[in-house]
Amino acid sequence: MTEDVDALMARVRRHDADAFETLYDAYHRIVYGVALRVLGDRAGAEDVTQTVFLKLWNAPNLFRGGNFAAWLARVTRNRALDVVRGRNVRAEAELPEALPENESMEDAAFARIDAERVRSALAALPPEQREPIELGFFGGVTHQEIARRFQTPLGTVKTRIRSGLRRLRTALDEAVTV
């Protein structure tokens, strides 16, 4: 993309449909991918993708800077979990969509990391750390449910999630500085 996200979002706030289309082209595979992982069906994933992008069009000020891809992933995860909410008991803690400024700055550090690098970093985690993290993010289940599914004590699951996220953080930090 020749134009950066902040410039495109500024145009979207002025209701520039061409800028919106550019953002769609660049980011729809993340939105669709997250929705597909959460829902497991293509039609539902497309519905969520449409909802997320129309939300972006109608309320562009929800994005207040930082890592646009991660923000979209967060928003999509929340919307997709709304869809499955009727089927499963899920965790309450939605990832916030409008971030305070300091958190946006924290987020922004990873903005230049592409999906392939993230997948590599995730793949490098030990399975006992990676699997609870992925199940938590895409499955929308509570940590108790994760513990039950892996037949692991709750305290151990919590520690593995934290250890995994910290290792992932370190790997992503290194990817930023490369």
Partner: protein, 262 residues
């Protein structure tokens, strides 16, 4: 990265779980309160939440067609965007999450309407060019016919998208009723074998035998929208089966769609 060794903190595991978004409601409230008063946990939370969100980025699908969403998705979204483009910035736009997505058959129906409008426009241009009284009369007749078709399509679209419409889903289709009108909307419907068509059947309330209704075939995309003769209120069930071309007086094959209306 902070290399300084910090003392263990009992809440840090909970903060990580909260950052991932998997903490139940009651526990989440406690952690939120704690983060508000503990700088170390607030720092950890900001760091790990940014990391957790990147897990989502990993789900980006490949560029190949197999993993891509339907090619109809982008036009569907852009049509909504361009149609809703306001003249001036709007401070409180309607929430997008309440807007239902268009199923494929609605897109198909919309395309039909657009095609009809387009035809009318072309037809009108031709009439102006020739300036022929006879042509105008013929076009007028054609225009009336198209206008009636357009009106029917508008009614169909309005019914299919109406928030007060009742929807009964089964297999690859659904029956939609609104007022006294009923529709069968099917998608992913294969073309019937040579010499065969799909036939709709209705079961009037209190009856024990299906009544033959319209025959139809899906379009090239496997979409079929059938407007059933009124009255929807009097129907107990709707079915679709594969029948010989021209239709049957009673079903001769297992139904591909069978919906009981309540």
């Amino acid at each position: 990265m902070n290399q300084r060794q910090e003392p263990p903190h009992a809440m840090l595991d909970d903060v990580a779980v909260y950052a991932l978004g998997v903490l139940p409601t009651a526990d989440a409230a406690k952690v939120r309160d704690h983060i508000a008063s503990c700088r170390r946990c607030a720092r950890e939370y900001a760091s790990l939440k940014a990391t957790a969100a990147m897990v989502g980025v990993s789900a980006e699908t490949a560029r190949d067609a197999e993993n891509a969403p339907s090619t109809l998705l982008k036009p569907r979204i852009m049509a909504r965007v361009r149609a809703s483009k306001p003249a001036a910035p709007v401070r409180t736009p309607a929430p997008a999450s309440r807007m239902p997505a268009w199923p494929a058959y609605l897109v198909a129906a919309a395309c039909v309407v657009i095609a009809i409008v387009s035809s009318m426009w072309n037809v009108a241009l031709v009439g102006q060019l020739h300036q022929s009284q006879q042509e105008i009369a013929r076009m007028s007749q054609r225009s009336d016919s198209l206008a009636r078709a357009l009106e029917d399509q508008r009614t169909t679209l309005s019914d299919l998208m109406g928030s007060d419409a009742k929807r009964y889903t089964a297999n690859d289709g659904e029956v939609i009723t609104r007022g006294n009108r009923a529709y069968i909307a099917m998608h992913d419907l294969p073309q019937p074998p040579r010499g065969k068509v799909y036939q709709a059947w209705t079961l009037p309330k209190g009856a024990t035998k299906m009544v033959p209704s319209l025959t139809f075939v899906p379009d090239a995309h496997g979409v079929a929208i059938v407007s059933l003769p009124p009255d929807a209120h009097a129907l107990a069930a709707v079915a679709v089966s594969v029948e010989p071309d021209g239709g049957s007086k009673q079903p001769t094959s297992k139904p591909v769609l069978l919906v009981t209306l309540t």
